[in-house]
Amino acid sequence: MTKQEVLGKKPLQVLQKIRENLERLNEKMEIMIELQKRGKKDVQPLPEAPLDVMTLLSMPDHLRKTAMTLCRLGRATAEDVAQQTRRARAVESGYLNQLVIMGHLKKERKGRKAYFHVDKENQG
């Protein structure tokens, strides 16, 4: 690798890092907004809220689409879901976090990525 290439790569890495941090911030803000909407008593995610078909039926359309896509994918990032639904990644991230707060999904961080899934024992 030439000296010029090394120098050119660094700003790119910095920009990538800034983007990841902004995405994390964005996710946290979405959760805070959601929690505020629900009031303090609902701060903890609901422990028992199985994502069965009747629950899917009763959801608003935008959340149903996200939840169904995740059911099909099993375990996925907001990016994976966005590719399927053809909606923006940030939009899907918001909906997925909303579903986590409602107790329907679980969220795990692996390195820099956040993975969402239906409760593991319920994935078949």
Partner: protein, 262 residues
């Protein structure tokens, strides 16, 4: 283009509209065309396929697969010889004993959610890994967990309906409040229609009428055939009567299905 197998759920609002008749004969027709088909009995409240395929005892049932006590390959029974055609037919049976029916109707939401996960997993295990062309789900009528799970897992829903007034109204509601919400591709098959099969105009009239009522495409119109009723479900019509008008209609439906799912 690579062909990816598809999942078809055959559903209806009311019982007795011909779901099982359509599922079984549709499967036989597709096998006749050289396809590899898996027909699954998801009507756990009134299982029928064990009787139709004359299988008295199975080592494993679909009930066991959904309970998570066995894998799907243990459940599938190779019935290709029974059909004796170019393709392959595997069937998965629902346990018809009263005890099993009672057990399945007492499942809770969490179990139903796991069952949905296991149905969704069939796309990988059967379509992708085992190379089936179609999985056909024969479901229970109406809004029941097992049927909605099947609908959610399917690519296309075939709705069997009749001109019975309450069936028409119920089907209309289901199209609006169930299939549309899950964004499912839906096709209607109208069964037990009273018109002369030799008169094309009668069929066109029925098709226009149905499309006007339900606002979805019509996959097939099946007249009321006394021969089909007379068979009393003792044999598979599309297999044993290849030149009967009923079989010809099924042939046409199978051809159209390929275009719909392509």
């Amino acid at each position: 283009m690579i062909w990816l197998g598809k999942i078809i759920a055959v559903h209806s609002y009311k019982g007795g509209t011909g779901k099982t008749l359509i599922s079984v004969n549709f499967a036989a027709t597709l096998v006749k065309q050289g396809k590899k088909i898996c027909l699954l009995d998801l009507d756990f409240r009134a299982p029928s396929l064990a009787t139709i395929f004359k299988i008295e005892k199975a080592d494993y049932w679909l009930n066991d697969y959904l309970n998570g006590t066995c894998e799907i390959d243990k459940v599938l029974i190779d019935s290709s010889e029974r059909i004796g055609n170019a393709g392959k037919l595997f069937v998965g049976l629902a346990n018809p004993t009263t005890e099993a029916i009672r057990d399945m109707s007492a499942k809770d939401r969490k179990w139903e959610m796991r069952a949905l996960g296991r149905l969704l997993a069939l796309r990988n295990s059967l379509l992708n890994d085992k190379g089936f062309d179609y999985l056909i789900f024969d479901t229970s009528p109406g809004l029941q967990y097992s049927s909605i799970n099947a609908i959610v897992s399917a690519d296309v829903v075939i709705v069997a309906t009749t001109f019975d007034r309450s069936d028409v109204e119920g089907t209309k509601r289901m199209l609006r409040e169930l299939y549309d919400l899950f964004e499912k591709k839906t096709e209607v098959v109208v069964n037990k229609v009273l018109y002369d099969v030799s008169m094309k105009s009668g069929k066109d009239e029925v098709q226009t009428r149905i499309e006007g009522i339900h606002k979805v495409p019509v996959l097939g119109i099946i007249p009321c055939f006394c021969d089909v009723s007379r068979a009393e479900g003792t044999f598979i019509f599309a297999q044993e009567k290849p030149n009967h008008p009923f079989t010809k209609i099924l042939d046409e439906m199978a051809k159209n299905l390929d275009n719909i799912t392509a």
